[in-house]
């Protein structure tokens, strides 16, 4: 556990006992997810509605207050249908971030959506199968990564896309992301895996004057996208962490479940969650912290898992999961190091930064802007607090495409008005939307951090 670090009194394993802030605490573990008591917290202030990016562009969506506490309160335990508008919720979870009263909004939405898909959606419908295929991105990506070049060509091949739209309702407006020729895990294995990481971490510790055997160990939850598509993000994470003396492991993992929650595929999500929790829980027991570079992945491990599933060890994993930069900001003097650093070359640019909704929910929306504000050679500008609109698989659905783009319009406008012509965000699907709407290249903050601290180690001790 990182509490052995000499310079910190931070104890992430400290349980938050007796607090009232955790909405799930009020629900006893029942099999059927009766969330009606969650409506007790709602005092109708409508802050959730004003934060909903879908309701402001689509009046068929009645907003999170209706969708959450009102619908649950009106619901009877049996014989009550879920309003079909729940499928229009994009699961951005901004309502969670808005609610001053601790109503478990996204938990209500996720549960209602699961119930709707389970009980009211036809299992033979195209929509159901399209949603299952989209939400099981990992499976598609796994297959595609076996033949990346072929996949890159055929997936975006015009007639194929036309067919996908017509038969499956996957919008032809978007380009599928490119698959890396070598996955992150392949790179990782080739590099020597955990043993090599330990070796490098020790070398860095020695250089930094730390105890060679300092207990600085993290388990990397890279997620699907860093593995199959933007492998440079995963590599940056590893290099930055090693530089600070952390040993990295990349345990067995499946999809975080984010796209499945959004599609009401709770059984699928649970299967994946079981694998993830089991492999992370073991490591957390041994003193590792779980680190994700995708803010939706960290959101899933931290909040959605414990809200939706009752899996052994889930609370411990949730309490020990962090976003990659957040963790360093807590444990290292990251701000000072960045202030000392300088970047040049490819990343010496002005960035138009968009904070993903799921980052916002973890309190990370200002992190990158505040961190890189003082970085020499690069500039960063926040493009405002709007939602990108893609919300994972949402914007890939033909019938949601226009809504998705309407939501994104504010962000596109602000990106265009910003100085930078390169975008930056933590979330891979926000990145897709940013690129789709502006044509900008989009980078991850870890890449800039790597450039500042590893490639140009002016401040290296």
């Amino acid at each position: 556990m990182s509490d052995t670090e000499p310079q910190t009194d931070f104890d992430p394993i400290e349980p938050n006992t007796g607090r009232e802030f955790e909405p799930v605490d009020v629900f006893p573990a029942t099999e059927e997810f009766d969330l009606r008591p969650g409506a007790d917290s709602c005092f109708k202030c409508s802050a959730c509605d004003t934060s909903c990016p879908v309701a402001e562009v689509d009046d068929d969506f009645p907003g999170p207050k209706f969708q959450g506490p009102e619908q649950w309160r009106l619901k009877r335990r049996e014989g009550h249908e879920i309003d079909d508008s729940v499928m229009s919720c994009s699961n951005c979870m901004r309502c969670d971030d808005a609610c001053p009263s601790g109503v478990p909004l996204s938990q209500m939405h996720n549960t209602a959506r699961g119930e709707y898909v389970e009980e009211q959606m036809s299992k033979t419908s195209v929509e159901y199968w399209r949603n299952r295929v989209l939400s099981n991105y990992r499976t598609s990506a796994f297959l595609a990564s076996k033949v990346p070049r072929l996949a890159n060509v055929t997936m975006n091949f015009g007639p194929a896309r036309w067919l996908m739209e017509k038969t499956m309702g996957v919008t032809a407006e978007r380009e599928f992301p490119a698959f890396a020729s070598t996955t992150f895990r392949e790179w990782w294995a080739e590099r020597g895996g955990a043993d090599e990481s330990r070796r490098r971490a020790r070398a860095h510790r020695e250089r930094r004057g730390l105890d060679r055997d300092a207990d600085k160990r993290v388990a990397y939850f890279h997620g699907c996208y860093s593995n199959y598509n933007t492998t440079e993000v995963g590599k940056a994470m590893v290099r930055v962490y090693e530089r600070y003396g952390y040993e990295v492991v990349a345990p067995e993992q499946k999809c975080s479940g984010t796209p499945m929650f959004a599609n009401g595929m709770l059984a699928d999500a649970r299967r994946h969650a079981e694998v993830n929790v089991s492999s992370m829980a073991d490591l957390v027991e041994q003193g590792y912290d779980a680190i994700a570079s995708c803010t939706s992945c960290s959101m899933a491990l931290r909040q959605e898992y414990p809200e939706l599933f009752d899996i052994d060890g889930i609370e411990t994993v949730a309490a020990n999961t962090f976003e990659s930069i957040e963790y360093l900001r807590i444990h290292e003097d990251l701000k000072a190091d960045v202030r000392e650093a300088r970047v040049s070359g490819d990343l010496a640019r002005e960035f138009a930064y968009h904070a993903p909704c799921h980052a916002r929910n973890q309190g990370l929306e200002r992190q990158s802007v505040e961190l890189f504000g003082d970085l020499e050679g690069a500039g960063i500008e926040d493009v405002g607090d709007s939602c990108s609109g893609i919300s994972g698989t949402y914007g890939w659905k033909e019938e949601k495409y226009e809504t998705s783009m309407a939501i994104g319009e504010e962000m596109f406008d602000h990106m265009a008005a910003a100085d930078g012509e390169v975008g930056m965000t933590e979330c891979p699907t926000c990145a897709m939307q940013m690129e789709h709407g502006t044509g900008y290249e989009i980078r991850h903050p870890l890449e800039l951090l790597e450039e500042a601290l590893v490639e140009n180690p002016r401040s290296e001790p």
Binding site: E70, E81, S101
Partner: protein, 576 residues
């Protein structure tokens, strides 16, 4: 054949409305007068339990038999008022096993279907039941909406020619030569008093016969008629939870005691109750200990109640009666049976009968018996049909299907609305105009509000009991002004404003007993909305004239802000 006899019924509760319906269906000419709204008295202040009879299966088997009989009748004729939740008599470890067995035998003796279920089975039905509940008896208890039931009875009576006068107080019982010949009634008037039926002034209502169905208030009418009616009003508290913690009626299986029942009622659960004799059915203390006792004692059955949100508490007064010679000292020992007091036999006063005691579940049976009695006074041989003919709203329940697509409402709102309206749903909800939700807590749309206004006039409390608008977690905080807006148009602004105030005050009254935790925050938010934003607490329209010229009239010389014609470029406001 001459014109039918004219019967005046006093009291707009379940009994009075039931009698009015029965008599008018038998062809008699009926006028019902009620001092407040329908259900103003005890009926509007009960826990909404449709008894299976199980509660009386040990102590009062005659009542138990009547209950199960009427329970079956109401399920048929009042489908849209009843939710068959089922009920459980649960036994905790400290509760007496002997009594449990006696309860079971009693139910079976009285023809009440009763099964023993294990603690685990009970918790499978109701997951929030305490872990140490040992076992339970399941019985066909249900939930009934007393407001809807009484309104439907009144509507049926009106269909059969009856006249229903609310906000009409009996000032005197008119007597000539030892015979009651009518009533002197004062109808409320003015913007503060709502309009329904006849507005304003006194009226002498001549009647061939008078039925006093005023429950706990029966003694007052008796006084006016110079007869002695010893009703023994007994108060009981009911605490309303914000959501349903249980979907089955939960009774504690023990002999008698306070705080032994939780009734799922519409969106809420109602905890009950206490039993304390009071002097006056209108003036009695409403005390903190009663609310605390509901929560603490019933938490033994459903532990999550301890920290759950309550939205209000209210007290009802049971119109208990026992013949003076019985002399029970404890009100819980007084029978729940009803008594028909024919004042001719009893007091040598012709032309009037009082009905006292009894309970809500058997209201129809009471109505039938007194209607038989009234008819016999006039030698009329008309059969009672109230047990077979469904109430308005319950005639045809196929409408419950397909409600959603038909009315374009969100699923739970459409569902709730159709459940309330029953077979009237189509007539009420089928509108081509926009039909926004006015009360978002209870899912009440404009069409339903407008229908209620058409039925009840400018009293928003009457609209409330018809629709449940303002009965949810915000307790009217967010919809009182909207409801006033719905009134305006049909009624002028001052009437709408007075009704708005009236509803706010009524909602505040019950909410005061729930002011801690979430509900105190809710009250503070409501207060901020109404007082800060709307300035309703110091509304200049209600107060002294304001010198407008002393205040800021804007920057421009003409008082205008001079913003016309500025930037129309549509660009972002700020350069981010």
């Amino acid at each position: 054949m001459g014109s039918p006899p004219h019967i005046a019924v006093i009291g707009g509760g379940s009994t009075g409305a039931g009698i009015a319906r029965d008599l008018s269906m038998r062809g008699l000419d009926v006028t019902l007068v009620e001092q407040g709204n329908l259900t103003h008295g005890t009926t509007g202040r009960m826990h909404g339990l449709l008894h299976s009879g199980g509660r009386y299966a040990v102590s009062d088997r005659a009542s138990a038999r009547e209950c199960i009989e009427e329970n079956r009748v109401l399920r048929e004729i009042a489908t849209h008022c009843v939710e068959m939740t089922g009920g459980l008599f649960v036994k905790r470890p400290e509760d007496d096993e002997e009594y449990f067995q006696e309860k079971l035998r009693g139910c079976r003796t009285c023809g009440i279907p009763a099964e023993v279920v294990s603690g685990a089975e009970a918790r499978a039905m109701e997951p929030h039941l305490a872990k140490d509940v040992e076992k339970a008896i399941s019985v066909p208890d249900g939930a009934v909406d007393p407001f809807r039931l009484v309104v439907a009875n009144a509507a049926s009576a009106i269909e059969h020619g009856a006249r229903i006068e609310t906000h009409s107080t009996v000032r005197d019982v008119l007597i000539e030569e030892d015979e009651v010949i009518g009533l002197e009634v004062e109808h409320a008037s003015g913007a503060g008093e709502r309009v329904h039926g006849k507005e304003g002034g006194r009226e002498e209502i001549r009647a061939d016969y008078v039925v006093n169905a005023t429950g706990a208030w029966a003694g007052r009418i008796g006084e006016m008629a110079g007869v002695d009616i010893e009703v023994r009003p007994s108060k009981g508290v009911m605490t309303i939870m914000n959501v349903r913690q249980v979907d089955t009626v939960i009774n504690r299986c023990r002999p008698k005691g306070d705080a032994d029942i939780v009734v799922p009622h519409e969106t809420t659960a109602i905890l009950g109750t206490t039993d304390e004799e009071v002097e006056d059915p209108e003036e009695y203390p409403e005390e903190r200990w009663e609310v605390d006792m509901m929560i603490e004692t019933l938490s033994e059955l459903v532990p999550m109640l301890e920290d759950a949100r309550t939205i209000r508490s209210f007290w009802g007064v049971r119109p208990l009666y026992e013949p003076p010679e019985v002399g029970s000292t404890d009100p819980t020992d007084i029978t729940r049976d009803y008594f028909l007091l024919d004042h001719a036999e009893r007091d040598d006063l012709e032309g009037m009968t009082s009905i006292v005691g009894g309970k809500f579940t058997t209201y129809r049976m009471m109505g039938e018996e007194i209607s038989d009695h009234v008819c016999s006074q006039f030698g009329i041989d008309a059969e009672c049909h109230t047990a077979e003919i469904p109430l308005p709203g319950s005639e045809d329940f196929t409408v419950l299907r397909d409600y959603m697509d038909e009315f374009g409402l969100r699923s739970p709102i459409g569902r709730r609305s159709v459940e309330r309206l029953g077979s009237r749903a189509d007539e009420v909800l089928n509108t081509s105009d926009p039909n926004p939700t006015v009360c978002t807590c209870e899912g009440v749309t404009r069409a339903e509000i407008q229908d209620a206004i058409a039925g009840s006039g400018s009293d928003l409390n009457a609209v409330r009991i018809r629709t449940r608008a303002s009965m949810g977690n915000c307790q009217g905080g967010f919809c009182c002004h909207r409801l006033a807006g719905e009134l305006h148009g049909e009624y002028d602004e001052s009437t709408a404003r007075a009704a708005w105030d009236g509803l706010l005050e009524e909602r505040w009254k019950g909410q005061r007993h729930a002011l801690w935790g979430e509900q105190l925050s809710q009250a503070a938010l409501n207060y901020a909305l109404q007082a800060t934003t709307q300035n309703r607490d110091r509304d200049p329209a209600d107060g002294d004239p304001v010198d407008f010229s002393a205040f800021d009239g804007g920057v421009g010389a003409d008082g205008g802000s001079g913003t016309a014609g500025v930037a129309t470029d549509g660009g972002p406001r700020d350069g981010d």
